[in-house]
């Protein structure tokens, strides 16, 4: 096994009738997933898709995502998740940035696609993997209006009918473990997102390491809360197929209605849950005490710290489950874990914990010297799960790497996380903050400089400063703006929402006469945060 798609082939051999993915009351067994992925792969190959070509997955949480991921990989291509909830301009940027010519989507997204696709984007085809009579509740056939819209753009549309005519045998392609498998886009400091490139090797290394660490079995059932564009989803899309287990895709509607979500955990007898802390905190007031969640043996959380008081309450509600704090930037997926021995007593932050397998870390002070035990420094990571680099950003990739040659001819390449940590005497890592201006809002990474850069592109804005303030364990983004001409704050929020995801739009915008600056002329964020 050296490619991500080998997982489903192997699991289809051992457990052909195990359900690989479930969504509401529909499911795909491993046998069905392999067949449908191969059909999609053959269709993509017939459209001219070659090894390394980027194919977009424009879907919300649904069963088609599984066929899309494994179909694209089986064709030797690279899957790029797009977020249908993101502003059209952001998806347009991604499509252009990595040259996506083919999209996997469904009828459900017609409205969003109409707002996104233009002639300049040069999208040649859009494929809906499931047909009208199939397991998709919305039907896979495209509407007449939409088909016309696409025809005008010279974009071809395909449905399940086209797929069924394709072969379901394994496509013969030459592809190696070091070849690209997927690209996930995240916030960039210059005002546009950057694509994190992962290979089959890094994806499969994550699947192996996480399966070992959490002893994941073919009988396990994972609740996949994260959307495909969020790297937390790699456990559901890679690890479970690797062991032959079942990934239950939590629907968009369930993620918004916690009382239904807790019913789903009970009904599906989930054994593993992995999400951002917020999703778990929401469960607390949703009748969790009336549900039988005793099947849950692991609760994994990541993306941001879990406030101790909520974590304590939740752990007391779920005494059978082991809680694990998962840490790692998307560039290395995961690199540490901390399994909580008991509910936290005080309100201290939970440690990041210990480094997992196939991974080496360094903690460097400002002069690239190793920090001593107890001293604060930047965390550097070298791992089998490490990214290949940022798409088409060699400069940025290099800037974020540290290379050393301990043995002649054997270069060791570390990723500089930008996270400040210290290691305690017990050997656990503790998170202390960021070296730069990256923040996490509901688990999403945001570069405050990206918001600043976007805000200053508005014609009425002279200058702007963005800063985050913590209030009751949650971070809020604030903006102060100096105007050139009169404007309402709502106009600016609307403007930002055209370019940035909803979570990156500041909650508060204040107009001021001048941005406070330090004597060196830099924005004085300290004053802004305290005033």
């Amino acid at each position: 096994m050296y490619l991500i798609q080998h997982s489903i082939l192997n699991s289809a051999n051992h457990y052909p009738d195990n359900e690989a993915f479930r969504y509401n009351d529909k499911a795909l067994t491993y046998k069905e997933l392999v067949e449908q992925s191969h059909q999609l792969a053959h269709l993509l190959i017939s459209l001219g898709v070659q090894r390394g070509d980027r194919v977009g997955v424009y879907l919300n949480r649904c069963l088609e995502t599984a066929v899309a991921v494994y179909g694209i990989l089986s064709a030797g291509a690279v899957f790029v998740p797009l977020d249908p909830y993101a502003p059209p301009s952001r998806n347009q940027f991604v499509i252009q940035d990595c040259g996506i010519e083919h999209l996997i989507s469904n009828k459900n997204q017609e409205k969003n696609l109409k707002n996104t696709l233009t002639e300049n984007l040069n999208v040649k085809s859009i494929i809906s993997p499931f047909g009208a009579d199939s397991i998709s509740p919305f039907g896979g056939g495209w509407g007449v209006d939409f088909a016309t819209f696409c025809a005008n753009l010279n974009t071809r549309t395909f449905t399940q009918k086209n797929l069924q005519k394709s072969l379901s045998t394994k496509p013969q392609i030459c592809i190696l473990e070091e070849d690209l498998a997927y690209i996930m886009y995240t916030s960039g400091t210059t005002g546009t997102p950057k694509g994190i490139m992962h290979t089959h090797r890094s994806g499969l290394a994550y699947a192996k390491l996480s399966a070992d660490l959490y002893n994941v079995q073919s009988t396990d059932r994972l609740g996949n809360h994260a959307a495909l564009h969020f790297d937390i989803s790699t456990m559901g899309y890679f690890t479970m197929p690797y062991v032959g287990g079942t990934t239950v895709i939590v629907s968009d509607i369930h993620t918004k209605l916690p009382a239904s979500m807790v019913q789903l955990i009970e009904k599906e007898r989930l054994t593993i849950w992995y999400s951002v802390p917020l999703a778990l905190i929401q469960l607390l007031q949703s009748g969790i005490e009336e549900r039988d969640l005793t099947a849950l043996r692991w609760v994994l959380y990541g993306g941001e710290p879990f406030p101790a008081k909520h974590l304590r309450t939740l752990m007391e509600q779920l005494p059978n489950a082991i809680f694990s704090n998962v840490y790692g930037p998307a560039e290395v997926n995961q690199c540490t874990y901390y399994n909580l021995p008991k509910p936290p007593k005080d309100d201290e932050t939970i440690p990041l914990g210990k480094v997992w397998g196939n991974t080496e870390i360094l903690i460097f002070d400002e002069n690239n010297n190793p920090a001593k035990v107890g001293e604060t420094g930047e965390l550097l990571v070298r791992s089998a799960t490490q990214m290949k680099g940022y798409w088409d950003r060699r400069d940025l990739t290099e800037k974020n790497l540290y290379k050393r040659e301990k043995i002649t001819g054997c270069e060791e390449v570390f990723y500089r996380t930008g996270d400040l940590v210290r290691i305690c005497e017990q050997g656990d890592l503790h998170f202390l903050g960021r070296k730069d201006r990256q923040v996490k809002i509901r688990g999403y990474r945001i570069e405050l400089d990206e918001i600043e850069a976007t805000l200053t592109t508005h014609e009425a804005v002279d200058s702007a400063a963005i800063f985050a303030i913590k209030n009751d364990d949650e971070a809020y983004i604030n903006a102060v703006v100096v105007l050139k001409k009169d404007l309402e704050t709502s106009d600016l929020k609307l403007y930002l929402s055209e370019y940035l995801p909803a979570y990156a739009v500041p909650s508060n915008i204040k107009f001021i006469d001048a941005i406070p600056r330090t004597t060196a002329g830099k924005v004085n964020y300290k004053i802004l945060k305290t005033s």
Binding site: N108, Q109, K111, D252, K256, P258, A259
Partner: protein
């Protein structure tokens, strides 16, 4: 009540007063309304109809579409 909720969602959430939206349209599953939008709809219902929606009532049956929301709010108002 259905019309009032439809108008609110079209104007305030979708920012598109001319769009077509029916009481039976799948709001949350279709990608039309995101999490923040949904939070605003809840706040609107609570204020407009002077009700408090307990977290345990936040289930699909009550919010899958505008028709379900109207029925739920009517029931809550008794």
């Amino acid at each position: 009540m259905t019309d009032i909720i439809i108008q609110y969602i079209k104007k305030e959430i979708l920012n598109d007063p001319d769009t077509t939206l029916t009481a039976q349209d799948d709001l949350l599953g279709s990608g039309l309304v995101d999490s923040m939008g949904f939070v605003r709809i809840i706040a609107f219902l609570e204020e407009e109809y002077d009700i408090t929606i307990p977290p345990t009532d936040m289930v699909i049956e009550h919010f899958m579409n505008i028709e379900a929301m109207s029925n739920y709010v009517a029931k809550l108002k008794g």
